[in-house]
Amino acid sequence: MSESNSDCGCKKAALAKSESAGSVSRRNLLLKIGTGLNAVAGALVGVPLLGYALSSFARTSKTSWITLGSLDKFPEGETRLAVYRNPESKAWDGDTAEIPCWVRRVDAESFQVFAINCTHLGCPVRWFQESRLFMCPCHGGAFYEDGSHASGPPPRGLFQYEHKVESGELKVLGGHLPSLAEPMRKEES
């Protein structure tokens, strides 16, 4: 730019050169400030957004004791399907708020409460009274009546719920989908 107007004298050319150099460094400064400001602003809005989107990763849900009904619903030596309502259910959960589980009453005092989900890939296992087996429809896993692994691909026995008997009712710590990473919910101390 300064080379083109050589007839204007070197003073003017030098002025133009220093001016343009000055404006370049000023532009650089503004660019830096602009980038920095946007980084701050981006973090200001981005961190909460990420926090919102990934909040379920932190697992903040609470456990609570849920009743499966009075003890006489479960005859001794039998295994019955019980249904409870998810304690954290929302108004728009519809049918998904009703969670099934298998209750085995071993004798008057002792129970086993099994999750419905096969330990292989979570499909619903069915109880067969005559052969005293739980069978899974997905990949053919089978479990004995005490929940232990009988055959097929499942890597372990059925998931169980923590349970207790209180004022004539059977209660479980329910409301979560058991997985190999978190087979059972424990009561918070």
Binding site: E88, S89, E98, P100, F128, S131, P137, G140, P153, S179
Partner: protein, 478 residues
């Protein structure tokens, strides 16, 4: 008048220039081939999916309590709602199929080699995004299969080391499958993944224009980094023809047939599902994924348990890495599949494996037939000439649910061997041991059968052999 409007538009929008650098760009005449129609075919499917998906969203309720009912409304009451659902379903099936053809064609034609590495990489990610659309779409069809499909997804997440429980939570948006889970998958299916696809697709097409479309490979014509681009540019200068109108004809014909095929399938076969309502207490269900995931579903039943977690979490990562990095370890050299026998073998073996697994996945021979013990019939010949004890055993085979896994006369489960000729394979003692202790995939029935029941059961099974075949015997005794 018309001319002045056209000129005004041209002046403002520079349409002629735009045309020359996009649709009218020059391509090698060898690409005027039926093998080059799959990319535009995939694009057509995607556009169709966007249109039908948007229209379905006019009615669909992304709420766990109402999604199923809104699908029923679409199927049965909304004007042509069933047809929209059918096109969206068949469009997705065709999109996965045509995209696979596109992937195989570009692989076999060496299109991923220098300098088109990024075109390949973006295409691979687009392929994964499309599979993501298929899975999330299956969840939006919020029925029993979708509910238990989420359970399967969560079970897989639960196998992630260290952060498994957190991953399950992240996927389900909470401790358990519920309303928020569906909303999450709705957002992924309708906003996140399609947005990613549009962005990647723009890059993919930009790269096709930047680096030119891959010429039809000739055996012996190898890619050398130093000379390839000059050679390609020379070829375009000498023999290049504009894509529109010279080459687009075959794409147009293929796209038209594709649209007709999707519409015809939609008309004849109708929409998919929804199956039963997403009520987890209705446990009499046998969940099954859509056909794209049947091979995985089948593999999970057939593999030994010890390698399952690796197969679920490790193998996909390795396979995807091998696929995406392909141009970086095989970026030069021969392009033609005629000189790349291993490439052809890989494609054939891959298709064969997927095909066999998908076939097995459709009739799941490993699953017990849950109703066989009460439904399956027994041929009359299997009762004739039997003693009362043996007949008692025949009843026990039924009532003790043996037939959920074992068939008689071709009726019953396929999990265990058919029992029609069991007496030719096992002696009485072996049968007793097998029933009481079980082994392999058979549970032990020792605790659930009284001794008298075992005697009757085995007495009956010892009669199960054709008259022309001798009974099994213990070799050491004779």
């Amino acid at each position: 008048m018309l001319r002045s409007v056209a000129l005004w538009l041209e002046d403002r929008l520079h349409l002629a220039k735009l045309f020359q650098s996009t649709a009218g760009h020059k391509v090698p005449p060898s690409t005027n081939s039926w093998f080059y129609v799959f990319g535009s075919g995939t694009l057509l499917c995607f556009v169709l999916q966007i249109i039908t998906g948007t229209l379905l969203a006019f009615v669909y309720q992304p709420s766990a309590s109402e999604a199923w009912a809104s699908l029923q409304y679409l199927n049965n009451e909304a004007f042509l709602g069933w047809f929209l659902r059918a096109i969206h379903n068949w469009g997705s099936i065709f999109m996965v199929a045509i995209m696979s053809a596109h992937l195989i064609q570009t692989f076999l034609f060496g299109a991923y080699k220098y300098p088109r590495e990024l075109t390949w990489v973006s295409g691979c990610v687009l392929f994964l995004c499309t599979l993501g659309m298929a899975f999330t779409g299956q969840i939006l069809r919020f029925d029993q299969d979708a509910y238990w499909g989420l359970g399967i997804g969560a079970s897989i997440m639960g196998r992630v080391p260290f952060i498994g429980a957190q991953m399950v939570h992240l996927m389900l948006a909470g401790s358990i499958i519920a309303g928020e889970t569906l909303s999450r998958f709705f957002s992924l299916h309708v906003f996140v993944v399609p947005g990613t696809i549009i962005a990647l697709l723009s890059l993919h097409l930009r790269l096709v224009l930047n680096k030119g479309i891959n010429e039809y490979p000739t055996p012996g014509h190898v890619v050398v980094k130093e000379t390839y681009e000059t050679q390609y540019e020379d070829m375009i200068k000498k023999t290049g023809v504009p894509f529109v109108p010279n080459v687009i004809g075959k794409d147009l014909i293929f796209s038209a047939f594709l649209t007709i095929a999707i519409t015809a399938c939609a008309l004849f076969f109708g929409p998919a599902g929804p199956s039963g309502p997403p009520n987890p207490t209705l446990i009499h269900t046998a969940p099954k994924p859509d056909f794209y995931f049947l091979p995985v579903f089948a593999a999970l039943s057939l593999l030994p348990a010890y390698m399952e977690t690796f197969l679920l979490l490790g193998l996909p990562v390795i396979l995807i890495a091998i696929l995406i990095l392909l141009p970086f370890y095989s970026g030069t050299g021969e392009k033609s599949y005629r000189r790349r026998p291993m490439a052809v073998v890989i494609v054939m073996l891959g298709l064969l494996t997927l095909g066999v697994l998908a076939y097995l996945g459709t009739f799941t021979p490993w699953s017990p037939h849950m109703e066989a013990w009460s439904n399956a019939t027994t041929p009359e010949a299997y009762f004739q000439g039997r003693s009362p004890l043996e007949l008692q055993g025949a009843i026990l085979i039924q009532s003790k649910q043996c037939r959920n896994c074992h068939s008689l006369g071709g009726d019953g489960g396929l999990r265990g061997p058919a029992l029609d000729t069991v007496a030719t394979r096992l002696t009485g003692d072996q049968l007793i041991r097998q029933v009481i202790q079980g082994s392999g995939n058979m549970p032990a029935y020792g605790k659930n059968l009284r001794p008298a029941e075992v005697t009757a059961l085995v007495a009956y099974m010892e009669t199960l052999r054709p008259s022309y075949q001798p009974a099994a015997r213990v070799a050491s005794k004779h």
